[in-house]
């Protein structure tokens, strides 16, 4: 078991898609939302994904394929 904290960012056309719900069904991963906000221009969700590390990897890769931007929680880790 592992857990990964990530930020999902959704472009407007994706906001209505139940991406997080589907992750829970398509993969053996538990999703736990902690913070979120949505407006006309963008939506973001901060959540924890728990499960087998490879399964988490597959789940985030799938989310990226759907057009979601997936970032580690601290924002970009690389600094100037």
């Amino acid at each position: 078991m592992a857990s990964r904290r990530v930020r999902f960012t959704f472009e407007p056309e994706l906001i209505k898609e139940p991406v997080i719900y589907r992750i829970g069904h398509l993969f053996d991963v538990v999703t736990n939302i902690r913070m979120a906000d949505v407006d006309e221009t963008v939506g973001w969700v901060i959540l924890e994904l728990s499960g087998d590390p490879d399964e988490i990897e597959r789940a985030t890769a799938w989310a990226e394929q759907q057009g979601v931007r997936v970032d580690p929680l601290a924002g970009d880790v690389v600094e100037g």
Binding site: T9, L73, V77
Partner: protein
């Protein structure tokens, strides 16, 4: 002594003991150091600060680390220089430059690293690490060398030469990551979870970020214990921007200056402008971008403090600008030609945005402004290559020199020329 008291979640306000953690267990919001200002009041005075060393350690009472763990290579208390020639060029009456190019590794990152490494030692870490596009790595390597600590730095493999050598010379373990920017991010997030290292901008980020407040402290002290009317600050993660304002506000809360009323303006490169773009759209929710700009030091597409920077802009009636690569190079040259300071691309962004903010009326001509020049030009010579004064090439013979000079002056006097140099 330090008056740090706890870590506090910026979103839900929950408090945690001072530890190497960066996000709230409950809401995952970012943690920030909380201080005991009541205890500070009366003990931290203009006199106590002025009696300190001419480095950022003069503000030791305001920093979240025990000064006995400090690693001192002379960071901070850099010049605040009045800039009349640049002021005239951009259309301002009073402009000051905070020249942070003269720090030990030639960028403001020495400030944040000074605090991060002291706190890391206080926590008992033996290894320090970071992931960086250059400046942060340079500062971490130098301070670690001075402290005799093991150091690991992760950098993308397409960095400017000066920034690679500027780390390598201190003999760290330098890890050049073959891949995209996102690959570097992913690797470092995973590494930071698997190794017991102090990653300056991850697990000790709450302490690290506090170091930037010293820029606000210094400006207020150097102006004779008062705040300017406007600040122009380059933004990557947005941390520096928010912390300069926090520093001014804290000085007022301690009675060291009057309520600041300073308007905060942020500067970004057009090729990586998530914060400025969100400001223009009138939202606090930025859309992450894939960076593409010569200003590599500011190329953070998903800024950790973007939301808070946008809030600070709104609260101070400030604003944001962005500059193209072309304008950035012009900004570097204008700063060098008018004020004798050779800045890296981040300085070019600041000067270019300052000019646009005044031109658009966002900053009024009579607003006393401080522009923050945060890194030195020799780190990014590639950016200005081919865009600076062309030498007169001559053999060692006076008559040939005289001819060449006459020819150059003739060119300079030609209608399109801007006059002799």
């Amino acid at each position: 002594m330090s008056f740090d008291r706890a870590l506090r979640c910026r979103e839900c306000g929950r408090e945690y003991p001072l530890a190497p953690v960066f996000s709230c267990e409950f809401c995952f919001g970012p943690l920030e150091v909380a201080y005991d200002y009541d205890a500070m009041r009366g003990r931290v005075t203009r006199e106590s600060i002025a009696a300190g060393p001419a480095t950022l350690w003069r503000y030791a009472d305001l920093l979240p680390c025990d000064p006995e763990y400090r690693v001192d290579i002379g960071t901070g208390f850099t010049p605040l220089q009045r800039a009349d020639r640049l002021a005239a060029a951009v259309g301002l009456r009073t402009l000051w430059l905070k020249n942070d190019t003269v720090n030990p590794t030639w960028s403001f990152k020495d400030r944040v690293v000074s605090v991060a490494i002291a706190r890391a030692r206080q926590f008992g870490f033996e290894v320090i690490a970071c992931a960086s596009t250059g400046n942060l790595a340079n500062a971490v390597c130098a301070h670690a060398a001075r402290a005799g600590m093991d150091v690991f730095v992760f950098i993308p493999d397409d960095l400017e030469h000066g920034k690679v050598v500027g780390s390598a010379v201190y003999h760290p373990t330098l890890v050049m990551v073959d891949g995209t920017y996102d690959d570097v991010n992913r690797l470092c997030t995973e590494v930071s979870q698997s190794y017991p290292w102090a990653f300056v901008n991850i697990n000790v980020r709450p302490y690290y970020a506090e170091g930037s407040r010293t820029l606000g402290f210094e400006v207020a002290e150097q102006l004779g214990w008062r705040a300017p009317e406007a600040c122009v600050v380059p933004m990557a993660s947005g941390s520096l921007f928010t912390k300069i304002h926090k520093g001014l506000t804290e000085f007022a809360a301690l009675g060291l200056i009057d309520e600041p009323g300073t308007r905060m303006f942020g500067a970004q490169a057009e090729g990586c402008s998530p914060i400025t773009t969100a400001h223009r759209a009138g939202t606090l929710n930025f859309v992450p971008q894939k960076p593409n700009t010569i200003a590599r030091s500011l190329a953070i597409g998903n800024p950790a403090d973007g939301y808070y920077a946008l809030k600070t802009m709104a609260e101070t009636e400030g604003g944001a600008e962005m500059a193209t690569d072309e304008e950035i190079v012009d900004g570097i040259r204008l700063l060098a030609e008018t004020e004798g300071i050779f800045a890296e691309t981040a300085g070019g962004v600041t000067v270019a945005c300052l000019r646009k903010l005044v031109a658009s009326g966002a900053i009024a001509p009579d607003e006393e402004t401080v522009a923050f020049i945060t890194g030195a030009g020799l780190k990014t010579v590639e950016a200005v290559a081919g865009r600076v004064a062309d030498p007169l090439r001559v053999p060692a013979r006076t008559e040939v020199f005289a001819e060449a000079l006459a020819e150059r002056r003739g060119q300079a006097a030609a209608p399109a020329g801007a006059g002799g140099r």
